[in-house]
Symmetry: C2
Subunit: 674 residues, 2 copies
């Protein structure tokens, strides 16, 4: 039978070899849920593929990683290298948005098996006359697969092996022959992994983004007025000055009147109450309309354009739910559940009732039309220039719908990014990431101690989760004012900001509540803001002297200047002998950028301790002193050895953000030292 | 569309629901390599199936485990129960040899969702008029799925819910209604796991067996004579008296003459040398022939019968390799590799040469005929009554061959058992278990310290490995005389015997070398026996006074009497504050049989320490004293609390084997205490 081509169609190869295939390929990673879901990367990232690869017996094997972009029909190849314990590794880089496919092929390496045996026999002084002929036969077969100069060389090597006089000598075969044979390997009976795995590639912002959430209606310059999209435009320089690149707006659609909630979520709304932006739909329109008081579609498009000019993108909120006044309720009554009395089923979590909200029924017989309409909402806003969608409570809509709609949107807008706001059980959160969400809100807000942060971010960045879920960290949201912030005051806000901005390549804050350290809860034990913007218009003193805006700007500049902070894979936690101090580092693959962060988690007391760094993991020579450049203060420290002492006072800045400078000047650097 | 039947065809259900299926099923276990290989069980065992199962939103769900024997077309069902973190569990029992299929289906549980909400609303004192109607509708739908009395009852419940007067009352729905609705659930839009997984069921001996390996040619009663199969028959009472139930014989075929090895593996054999039984094939025949000096096929069949009468099975060695004198070499030269000089390629591991052995070439173009011939060897011996095959070096034959031949043999002999002798790298060893071997030799022989034993047996019994690999533990083999045995003497043999017999439901010894504590190595640093039976006939003093045969018999009786020792899943290691003492327990699922073993790993010194038992895991009341029945000495100890002191002297018996007696008599048991 014919041997495999050098650019095999995996399916064909595995069939052709029949029972003679001797190599096993197992446990290939990344492989999400047995290949049911794609892994995730952004443009420019590497995909490191590993697998357990072995054959029966003692023959040498060779393994090749195959990959191709969805637009290509031929596979690219990358040689895989053995690690330990029959694990092999290869990698490729993804340069285009969309899907890449990859799989692994491996075969018994006849020449290498021969070469090893030959070398050992030569070393043992054994007669290798027949072995030399076997090598010549392999080289001749190699020559048949080669052309031009390579073919000539292989023929010469074969001839040399056959002729004892001019032979390869008893010192083992020529390394140039081995190199040529590696190039023209005989791949007969190659094994091919039985799955073609997928990696879905997004643009870089899916991984690295700095988000700011702001209620447009609170943006009016004048107190008591309903803010507009025009007012948002006026706010852009403020947001941009802090270094944010995504401006996320809660829903901007008409708000329902029926069962409208009053201030502080009061059931009895007065006629002046503005209602919750998430209560979408009224006589003025639904999900494709803009609240008349915010402005027009033209205003919105202007906002998108102006934001872009300021280096920002607008992210919109996709909240698939309707008030009783939403046009869908009349136009598509079959999309909602009916109660036995004929009324529409409102949202409830007994005994709580949300009569202002009608959930869509994803079990409706008319699901196809429902799905298409929901897709059309995203496409409508994409047409207006929006590419980032923060999706409200995706875990209350069906997984299959997301699995369909996200690729559907990407067909027309490959650069679309979807952030899942699913504060729910871990496996549900992970499933949403698997079915296609580009990013996910996390439990970060509630991970406050060193042990909690270490365990959670180890799970997110150093397990399989890192292959399908990209965390987006929020120290606060309009729904979440944690007790840590309520009781920790300004030092707590600073500590949580540093943690979010350095633990997460993507993070966001809900402002200006955050930078103004707004921290009064509605009730004791509640995480709701008092006088929450969800139910009323607020007028903020944006330029208050004690605002954290400068600090935030500094942190965001550090993020932008240091590639280590633009990804999550390089995260490592380090020992500190004080449970209130947390220390971690992030690194680029090539170690040219290494950031070490230390945060005092205690917002009340000065804390000190000894930090212990794994010198070699951070690219440091354990026998040389090194410089730690503190980026918040621009101070520079000389450290030596793995252990260093630190002290952090919460009332000034409760964190250090160091850039490791690998080498410091010494006497040898002096011009005429030698 | 129609709803799912109560006995769904998984494929059909998942297609029918289209986009309306809201439940996700992930991470189902057991699932070996994504379902590529079957899990293993023996008749009578349970298969515990777990999966992550969840829906969007807050509705209750229900999950069902589906399973069927390969001979059945309908699925059986077992209700799955939620554990924590969206993990669900169900189980079924396997009662027949062969394959069982299993998968999982799950759906939104409409009635339970309603029931929970209704109960909460009643508790909160809310108006439930409409909810009662909703419940009635569900009960009416349930009635349509029911028949007879159940249907009537459901109709009555529905009517009661509709009529406030006779209603279910504001105390929540009647539990009998819930029970009926559980029975007649609406399974619309059910999710079905996308794989049908397989569990392969063997007979009980695949899990629990006690093996004795013996060279027939060393069994002659008279020194200097070549032992025969007839002599083996005479040895059966001896082997049976020690409680063994599998008698494994090294190859019994004609031994080659070319390059025959002499005593102690000497290259220069004398004409009297008998050669290695693993050098198979001569003019007298090959793998289907019996060495003329051992006897005839009739003798062999008599041995099989007599062994059975003594409660034992004969296990044969399948060693797929040929000497230069094997008939295959002439009849099927294409099954061997050729060297460039036209000679047949002998086995080599450069610079070592094994010129007495020609390996079969699994890459031959004639592989189909080769496979069939190799299958016919096993079938030939199966026809003579052999059902257990110990396979020599299966890792030097192709995985695909084993994956084919083992099920092929089982088609005709479903009770066949295959033990893989693959002392090779872990992933290769595991692959052989996955492709079908019933049992596997392990690294047990080289795991001597507490840390090594704990780590290794935790991996074998408490990870996924336990689902596909059944360990068979051998403290020695003709190839393996460990340094622990060489230097530890009799106490080492006793300790290793207890460890093998209690850590492994299957274990074996190579005797009589083992019971006679033969421990002289050929060379320092070698694990080869001096004067190994592999190359010469030995004459043993089987009844030497210091033989361990009585001790072995006692251990094997304890194994037979205690079901906890007949499986490997109940293994737990316990703390002892002395690294030379190891303590572990084995339990039956129902905790009616709990065995605690303590072994002194130091063959030279008395060792003592405090053992710490997890009382509740062993079914013990932490507030009551309990009795520990020492089965080797029949002594009984009263222990109380988790910690107990122990002392073990290697020169007497270096181990305790306790049976836990859960309750001891107290004053309350006295007839007239009350």
């Amino acid at each position: 039978m014919a041997s495999a081509s050098t650019n095999p169609n995996p399916q064909r190869v595995s069939t052709m070899s029949g029972g003679r295939c001797r190599v096993a390929i197992e446990n290939v990673r990344p492989e999400i849920d047995g290949g049911r879901f794609p892994a995730k990367r952004v443009v420019g990232e590497r995909v490191i593929v590993e697998g357990d690869i072995f054959a029966d017996g003692h023959d040498a094997i060779a393994a090749m990683l195959l990959y191709r972009n969805e637009g290509e029909s031929d596979w690219h190849e990358r040689v895989m290298q053995p690690l330990v314990n029959d694990r092999w590794r290869g990698e490729f880089q993804v340069d285009r948005i969309g899907n890449y496919y990859y799989t692994v092929t491996a075969w018994v390496n006849l020449f290498e098996s021969w070469r090893r045996g030959f070398a050992k026999k030569v070393e043992a002084g054994q007669d290798v006359t027949v072995d030399r002929l076997a090598g010549a036969e392999l080289a001749e077969l190699g020559a048949q697969r080669a052309a031009g100069k390579d073919r000539e060389s292989l023929e010469q090597f074969a001839a040399a092996l056959r002729s004892k006089a001019t032979g390869a000598g008893e010192s083992g075969p020529d390394p140039r022959l081995a190199a040529l044979m590696e190039k023209y390997q005989e791949r007969r009976h190659a094994a091919v992994y039985d799955k073609q795995l997928v990696v879905n590639v997004d643009r870089a912002k899916a991984r690295f983004g700095t988000w700011y959430e702001m209620f447009p209606r609170s943006c009016a310059a004048q107190e008591g007025k309903h803010g507009t999209l025009q007012d948002c435009i006026a706010r852009l320089p403020y947001v941009a000055s802090m270094g944010f690149d995504v401006l996320y707006l809660p829903p901007i659609h008409p708000i329902g009147y029926s069962f409208r909630k009053g201030k502080n979520n009061n059931f009895a709304a007065s006629p002046e109450d503005v209602g919750s932006p998430w209560a979408i739909g009224a006589k003025e329109g639904g999900h494709k309309s803009i609240h008349p008081k915010l402005g027009t579609l033209e205003d919105f498009k202007r906002l998108v354009t102006k934001a872009k000019e300021s280096g920002m993108e607008i992210a919109l909120d996709i909240a698939y739910q309707c008030t009783p006044d939403h046009p869908y309720v009349k136009e598509h009554p079959q999309w909602f559940r009916k109660r036995p009395d004929g009324s529409v089923q409102y949202a409830e979590n007994p005994p709580k009732k949300y009569q202002d909200i009608y959930p869509l029924d994803f079990e409706t017989d008319d699901w196809r039309a429902l799905w298409e309409e929901l897709r059309s909402i995203i496409l409508f806003w994409a047409e207006q220039g929006v590419r980032i969608f923060r999706v409200d409570n995706p875990h209350t809509k069906s997984f299959l719908f997301w699995q369909w709609v996200i690729p559907e949107v990407k067909k027309s807008y490959p650069d679309a990014i979807f952030l899942a706001e699913a504060f729910t059980r871990p496996k549900v959160m992970y499933r949403l990431a698997k079915v296609g969400f580009s990013q996910s809100y996390t439990y970060f807000a509630w991970r406050n101690t060193k042990a909690e942060l270490t365990e959670y971010f180890t799970e997110l960045t150093r397990t399989e989760v890192a292959d399908f879920l990209r965390p987006n960290l929020w120290p606060n949201t309009p729904d979440i004012l944690t007790e840590y912030l309520q009781f920790g005051g300004r030092p707590a806000f600073m500590a949580r900001l540093v943690l979010a901005a350095t633990l997460g390549a993507s993070y966001g804050i809900y402002g200006p509540a955050f930078e103004l350290c707004e921290n009064t809860a509605r009730d004791p034990g509640s995480e709701e803001y008092l006088n929450s913007e969800k139910y009323e218009i607020r007028h903020w003193d944006w330029d208050r002297a004690d605002s954290l805006k400068e600090f935030i700007g500094m942190i965001n500049r550090i993020r932008r200047d240091n590639p280590a902070l633009r990804g999550d894979r390089g995260l490592l936690f380090h020992n500190v002998d004080n449970p209130e101090l947390i220390c971690f580092s992030k690194r680029t693959d090539d170690l040219t950028n290494v950031i070490v962060v230390v945060v005092n988690l205690d917002p009340h007391h000065i804390q000190s301790g000894w930090v212990e760094l794994p010198m070699e993991d951070l690219g440091l020579d354990p026998h040389q002193p090194f410089q730690m450049h503190e980026l918040l203060t621009d101070a520079r420290y000389l450290w030596h050895g793995p252990k260093s002492y630190l002290e952090l006072a919460p009332q000034s800045v409760p964190a250090h953000v160091f850039r490791v400078r690998h080498r410091i000047r010494r006497e040898q650097d002096f011009d005429y030292f030698l």
